[in-house]
Symmetry: C2
Subunit: 496 residues, 2 copies
């Protein structure tokens, strides 16, 4: 019996070796790969994905899983690994290796096309690839046995997430958050001009490394690089990599992208090394993953206590640029609420309108309610109606995000879900560690990280996001925590 579980573990580790090698090739593709290598990389990624799939869906491995399902000698943690794997196995065996290879190749090509389209500000270069991606993803989701394809796409990214739940959540957003944003818009605007001075790249880079270290990122098992679109990737919890981007005329870009990706990375570095390749070493879901990045980015990184400690350090690096700016000025400025074009640099309130737009567009895309050619127009009209702004071009509009080019449909909503979880978790942590904000203000992020490691990171996929939330907070996802956090914070900042 023990031998069975050991064989299962070994097989899973081998599959992980290939999948993490894919991740390595993907990391390089977005950081260092020379442009002329893109076709080559596509085919190599495709072969590796196919091999991982082939190995994972091996019939003998299926038999082993069936045996383990009824193995009463397994511990609860082992049982959870096996059940999660059986779930994955069922979904993967619906896909042929040919299909997986074709998908991988289409994604690599689509990513390259998106990069080119974005650079040339020309959606048409990307459109045929997006069409192919939508078709392949729909086919994949149907094959996996989902009757509602978009529900299936959501479930793939965050187990249990559905259109029904999201419609309810975004209805709360519309009813509570939208009026609050309007109230802010009607009040006196805060000043953030100091963010847009000339900030030399190398100094920004150095500060971003310091901040990563400050929040607890372990450089012995990770590193930071640069890429067009910041991301976090892992080749196992002993090698977790983040990327960031620098704008010489916008300090906020690097600070919050680094802290955001850093939050993702702390989760990955906190997953148990001993469970390598098993569900227990994987994230519970993308919504939960995002809760970790948002918690650090917003609840910590955009909080007054954090900057009570960090601002003097930042001032040391940029004394001229920040001359005359107080910690409170900095805090207010960084939290300026204002409709804008780019999701990743949006404030934490209007951010959810960006997501709502993408959610609505994805549903329309997947259910064939709009043709791919008409997407830029639909995008622009929604930005006009929800955010009141005129999108000037595709680069600033529909081409801004990498996700669709990666085949990630049903991914965006996890960003809002994650933010709402973040507020809920941070409230729970503050309740359980009364001195939490004081320690952060003293420059000590360790108690928070320890709390996250104990309550969330250590479990991997053993519990779903919803289960974890109930375990920690005694209730499932509840939007009111986010609204409470937002109301208190912005009432102070905007003197409402």
């Amino acid at each position: 019996m023990i031998q069975n579980y050991e064989n299962y573990r070994k097989h899973m580790a081998k599959v992980a070796d290939i999948n993490y090698s894919c991740a390595m090739l993907g990391w390089d593709q977005e950081t260092y790969m020379p442009e002329g290598a893109s076709d080559l990389r596509s085919r190599q990624l495709s072969t590796l994905s196919g091999l991982a799939h082939q190995l994972f869906t091996d019939a003998a491995f299926g038999d082993l899983l069936a045996t383990l399902k009824d193995d009463t000698s397994l511990s609860a943690a082992e049982k959870s690994n096996v059940l999660n794997t059986i779930d994955d196995y069922k979904k993967q065996t619906c896909l042929s290796t040919d299909f997986v290879e074709a998908m991988s190749k289409a994604i690599s090509q689509s990513f390259n096309a998106w990069q080119k389209a974005r650079q040339d500000n020309n959606f048409k270069l990307f459109a045929p690839h997006l069409k192919e991606i939508i078709a392949l993803k729909k086919e994949e989701t149907s094959r996996k046995g989902y009757t509602n394809v978009y529900d299936g796409m959501l479930d793939t990214h965050e187990k249990g997430l559905t259109i029904q739940k999201l419609d309810a959540l975004f209805s709360d957003v519309r009813e509570q958050l939208v009026p609050f944003i309007k109230k802010i818009a009607a009040s006196k605007q805060v000043d953030d001009a100091f963010m847009f001075k000339q900030y030399p790249s190398d100094l920004q880079w150095q500060y971003s490394l310091d901040v990563l270290k400050h929040i607890g990122f372990d450089f012995n098992t990770g590193r930071q690089d640069k890429s067009t679109h910041p991301f976090t990737t892992s080749f196992g919890s002993a090698d977790v990599r983040v990327t960031t981007r620098i704008s010489e005329h916008d300090l906020s870009e690097i600070i919050w992208s680094t802290i955001h990706e850093g939050g993702h990375a702390l989760y990955e570095q906190g997953l148990p090394v001993s469970e390598y390749g098993l569900p227990a070493s994987e994230a519970a879901g993308l919504g939960l993953h995002e809760s970790q990045s948002r918690l650090w980015e917003n609840n910590v990184g955009r909080s007054l206590p954090f900057w009570e400690n960090q601002f003097s350090k930042l001032l040391n690096v940029f004394p001229a640029q920040l001359s005359g700016v107080s910690t409170d000025d900095f805090y207010r400025g960084m939290n300026k609420v204002q409709p804008s074009f780019i999701r990743t640099s949006a404030d934490e309130l209007t951010y959810h309108l960006h997501i709502m737009i993408r959610y609505e567009i994805e549903k329309a895309m997947v259910f064939d309610e709009v043709s791919v050619e008409d997407l830029p127009a639909l995008w622009n009209s929604k930005y006009k109606s929800y955010l009141g702004i005129d999108v000037p071009d595709d680069k600033t509009g529909i081409l801004q995000d990498v996700h669709w080019s990666h085949g990630s449909l049903g991914y965006f909503p996890t960003y809002s879900v994650g933010s709402f979880y973040a507020a809920q978790f941070f409230a729970a942590a503050t309740h359980q560690i009364p001195a939490l904000k004081t320690t952060i203000a003293e420059g000590n992020c360790h108690p928070l990280l320890t709390w996250l490691r104990e309550n969330i990171h250590q479990y991997g996929r053993r519990f779903t996001s919803e289960e974890l939330c109930k375990k920690i907070c005694g209730e499932g996802l509840n939007f009111s925590h986010f609204m409470k956090y937002a109301t208190e914070k912005y009432t102070y900042i905007y003197s409402l």
Copy 2:
């Protein structure tokens, strides 16, 4: 019949996808990987190597090769691919997948141990790994069917190379080169003090990129990074990467390491993309590979014509450091001949004594004539007797090279073989293109690169090094070309 060849090609491309992914993981391991990831990387590399081996040695593929062997419809180029693959297949099928995985893991661990040993200047940390590597490599070579294991190791790196040939070659070195080096040592030394001023890293780095471009390196299908030990790697000819290292107090380090690796890279970039995964897209052998790096490093990069064009550019970058130095001073200084500890920074004459020492030690290691523990003493005694110098410590001695940690036994001799080929090829090119040196002096390296592409690069493994040499020069490897080149050059430099 055509279908058979097409299936063969597809299978080979898939194997190449995995092998090149291994190369990517290896590249990262030596450039960017965080230290704590080394065990993780070892296991991932081991799994991928095992998979590549398993796929390549597949029995059905063996049957396909047997069918293709007798296929009279194949072109000569196709036939050559098939025969080379059959040769590889025979050698690989002697090794089990378990053995290949064990070897890969041992190599990764040994590489990490070597890095640590070198850093701590402590050979003992590396010794047990080296022992394991020697044992595994001997086993591998025996399994491949070689009766003389060291001949087998040589043949693996450069087809047809044997102890007998090398003994003859190094006898020429002893009889002709050693007395010539003594003659130089007895004459007035040239001045190279200007090389050891303070040269800022970032300026060196920028110049090294310019030099790479100047010799014809294509940055659209390649890049340069930094590593402890400079190397060239390829993930297919559309993605070829070199690394270099910078010493702030020694300008020569980066210039010749960049040109050297650049020469390797030009060969890799010149291999036919259309033959991806097939022997025709692989280098003919390591001796021939080295001929390409040495030709650019020495016959071009340490020549007067090259610097007649480049020196003014270098002077522009470092006006203070090179103030008062003429092109001729620079030429003489860079070619200073002097016994030294480090192989990679040795002059092009004493270099071959470094190789002779390694050749003798490897034979002793492989034939159990010396224990691993006694290697540092043996190393140091040979440096004393051949180069007349006292090695101060292991870091400067036996731990300086990465090769053994990588399992590369029988590799070093290809460096001398390559240098001798380089002199022979450059003489042939100069004969066939009478204006060659003039074009180089005018800053145009294109005619030389074109000649190399046409005469060498395009063929891959279609011909062995020896066959190519005969095709180009009408004779096999002939040491006299190197001696002629060395005599003319150093008679001028040292006014002999």
